[in-house]
């Protein structure tokens, strides 16, 4: 049960082999987009701030964007800054170097003397990296090298009955084979945190699981937001999910049943292997990007209502438990777990089939969101801009 991947100098293994054009801030993001558009094999991710941020937001920005550069699906990074931003090119470079020793080039627009000069140099650097990346051989690696991110969005009542338990089976299989799987979205633990906490490997981790739920409710209360008035979403309700408890009890199935060995902060890389939790919002895109920054090579994303979400660094495999959604949105959804509700397959059988689909994607199969080149990117924030 192996896959073909790309060994990186930091020891990690990628399933894609891309060159990343990375902006430190909003003022260099468009330059990065222009650079990436001129180099086949290069990608860029948007950055809509990186400046005028409070310290805690700056930290998230460093964690997130350095995490993208360190993600094993990336061969190397061309970092482009403006020169006067809060999230400095020097600090970002150092954050990246703390996480990985992969190829890295840095350009600063104000030092290069404008956009055209920067694009010129950055395109040269990116082209060279793409050529080097093409020489990395694909080698065979075991499942223990995989780090799966698990997400859900646009849930309906089939999510908790079929899609999430099926993904939970995949999570357990990866963990049993020595790999890692992270489940996120603290919002969608609330109401089920007492059930999830039973999976904690230690009493300390149990406290952390309950603690992140309590902290999120309090955080939202500080801006006079009752979490329960925003959750479930109108679409969730129409789909048969009536309360946050019902949503969460269905959601947590996607994390499987193995002991939880670490609770990660937003966009942090794990220090342990096995079943993990990341403290992210219920906002699916901001959650996927955080797990990719944490190092996930592949994402499985369950949906009931149907969503198009992808990610430019890690392939996103879309799974639904709703047969109608699968038929209606077949250009967006990769895998139908609705067969479980029909009684045509058990959760375990369907989980094994999804595991095989995930392995195909790890071996190079292009997911539906990848085929569109979708590039959603969103970052969690603590408060207003300065």
């Amino acid at each position: 049960m192996n896959f073909y991947g790309y060994k990186r100098p930091d020891g990690r293994v990628g399933i894609r082999n891309k060159v990343l054009i990375l902006p430190t801030c909003v003022c260099s993001a468009e330059t990065c987009r222009k650079v990436a558009s001129q180099v086949e094999g290069a990608i860029y991710v948007n950055n809509d701030a990186g400046c005028s941020e409070v310290e805690q937001n700056l930290k998230i920005c460093y964690d997130m964007y350095s995490g993208f550069a360190a993600n094993p699906n990336i061969y190397g990074t061309v970092l482009i800054g403006l020169g006067c931003e809060g999230c400095t090119p020097e600090n970002m470079k150092n954050e990246i170097l703390k996480k990985t020793n992969k190829p890295l080039e840095v350009f600063v627009i104000q030092e290069e003397g404008g956009t055209t000069n920067t694009i010129n140099k950055a395109v040269h650097a990116a082209r060279k990296m793409v050529q080097e990346a093409s020489l990395v051989p694909r080698e065979e690696f075991p499942v223990s090298e995989l780090f799966l991110g698990i997400e859900c969005g646009g849930s309906d009542a089939t999510s908790g009955l079929a899609a999430n338990p099926v993904v939970g089976k995949v999570s357990d299989m990866i963990v049993d084979m020595g790999g890692s799987a992270v489940m996120s979205e603290t919002t969608e633990f609330i109401g089920a945190e007492h059930v999830l906490a039973k999976r904690a490997a230690t009493p300390e981790i149990k406290k952390q699981i309950i603690g992140i739920c309590k902290a999120l409710e309090e955080h939202l209360a500080n801006v006079n937001q009752n979490l329960r008035t925003g959750q479930p979403t109108p679409g969730n309700k129409e789909g048969g999910i009536s309360t946050i408890e019902e949503k969460s009890l269905g959601c947590i199935y996607k994390g499987g049943s193995r002991p939880i060995v670490e609770v990660l902060d937003y966009a942090q890389m794990p220090t342990k292997k096995g079943a993990l939790i990341m403290d992210t919002p219920g906002f699916d895109v901001a959650s996927v990007t955080a797990m990719v920054a944490g190092g996930c090579q592949v994402i499985i994303f369950t949906t009931g209502r149907g969503t198009p979400t992808g990610n430019i660094i890690a392939p996103v495999i879309k799974v639904t438990g709703n047969n109608k959604t699968y038929e209606r949105m077949t250009d967006n959804i990769d895998f139908n777990a609705g067969v479980v509700i029909d009684g045509k397959m058990t959760i375990d059988e369907c989980g094994e089939k999804l595991f095989e689909e995930m392995m195909e994607v790890c071996r190079g199969k292009v997911t539906k969101a990848e085929a569109y080149g979708f590039n959603e990117c969103s970052m969690q924030r603590i408060c207003k801009f300065i």
């Binding site: 009542a157 945190e193 309950i210 329960r228 309700k237 048969g240 269905g250």
Partner: protein
């Protein structure tokens, strides 16, 4: 007509219908391997919940063997469509869970 529903745990007091339901349909589900039925008192969409017990205001609604909320209307007889219109989320007591 007869329609199927899924009971996730035997202690649940709601089941999930797997097809659109119209008033008067007989809803069949398995409870601990035993076949049970309830008659739908109203129309409801696929994958929504139907009460399999008579409920009154404040009663806990149980699905997945867990509390998913409390009844917010005076009563919901067996066969009622249970949704966000008649149940509400309940506050957590995190201190007790720690």
């Amino acid at each position: 007509m007869s329609k199927n529903a899924i009971m996730l745990r035997p202690i649940d007091n709601v089941v999930t219908v797997v097809a659109d339901v119209v008033k008067g349909d007989t809803i069949t589900y398995l409870k601990d391997g035993e076949q049970c039925t309830v008659t739908a008192l109203e129309d409801m969409p696929a994958f929504h919940k139907i009460a399999v017990a008579d409920l009154k205001k404040g009663d806990h609604i149980i699905k997945y063997g867990q509390i998913i909320g409390g009844l917010s209307v005076d009563e919901a007889k067996k066969g009622t469509w249970i949704s966000h219109r008649n149940i509400i989320s309940l506050p957590r007591n995190y201190e007790d869970e720690l």
